[in-house]
Symmetry: C3
Amino acid sequence: MHDYDKNGDEFLQIDLNNTLKKIIPDNTSQGQYNYPGKKHYQAVEAWPDADSYLPGGDRNALLNCDAHLKATLIGSSQIFDVDSGTLGVGVTGYIYFVDFDRTRPRTRKCKIIIIGDC
Amino acid sequence: MHDYDKNGDEFLQIDLNNTLKKIIPDNTSQGQYNYPGKKHYQAVEAWPDADSYLPGGDRNALLNCDAHLKATLIGSSQIFDVDSGTLGVGVTGYIYFVDFDRTRPRTRKCKIIIIGDC
Amino acid sequence: MHDYDKNGDEFLQIDLNNTLKKIIPDNTSQGQYNYPGKKHYQAVEAWPDADSYLPGGDRNALLNCDAHLKATLIGSSQIFDVDSGTLGVGVTGYIYFVDFDRTRPRTRKCKIIIIGDC
């Protein structure tokens, strides 16, 4: 909210990242978590589009256990009310869309479902 | 995902369990958490079906504070979109239904509510 | 559930508070977290109703980083089914409405949206 560090990261988001990192350290080496296991690597390597998951065959691109765990903790859906055309997040509320994966850049889609009369 | 340990537990689920256990240790003895308190024991023991909550009168069957706290952190509901008959969880997404209670086996129900045209 | 401490706090709620506090310590001093930053203070101080956010100009009233982080972890919405007029929270389920902010008393609203035939 209003303040950003030199990397352009918003202060509250940095604090959230730090909190999550404390609970769920970045997955930087094989064997640090159980996942990803041997069979998962083999399965992904057998996919027709394997190279988009493991660019250059680099197995480190699948070291995203922390992302799975963070996403599970935070949840993958959230509901917001819209009343008379106003999004009910309060004066200081923000909606973040987060991809916790750090291993490779990619395009992400966020699905917004509107229920009710509009 | 693809890998299971010798107990049949999926790797990512083990990692999630380990993470949650670190934050919220298993409730294995009375007094470890505030809950369950004296009045809660007395209330449950007065229920007509008390024996299904405390089999054989064993008060340890109520040592499930960790399950309450884990469930609160993870949340009890989640929304998924279904588009043209396809569940929107992505290529590698899974839906887990978890009962964090470790104290006694039982049957659980998961309620699925479908909203919209189907 | 059934048990309360001398402050009137319910046991399971105390356990949840303790768990969250362990992960996300109370924000009691400036600089403890990145948020709130200088620009956020300046922005709030420029609001027409600044005094309701910073009573008496006390900047400590904005030390609520922990509240933002706890709310993000727990989530701001939850779905419950109502079947034949009964709220589906089970025998021992409760719904808590929590404002994690500790800095000043205020009135809060909880929005309940009912979807479906009632």
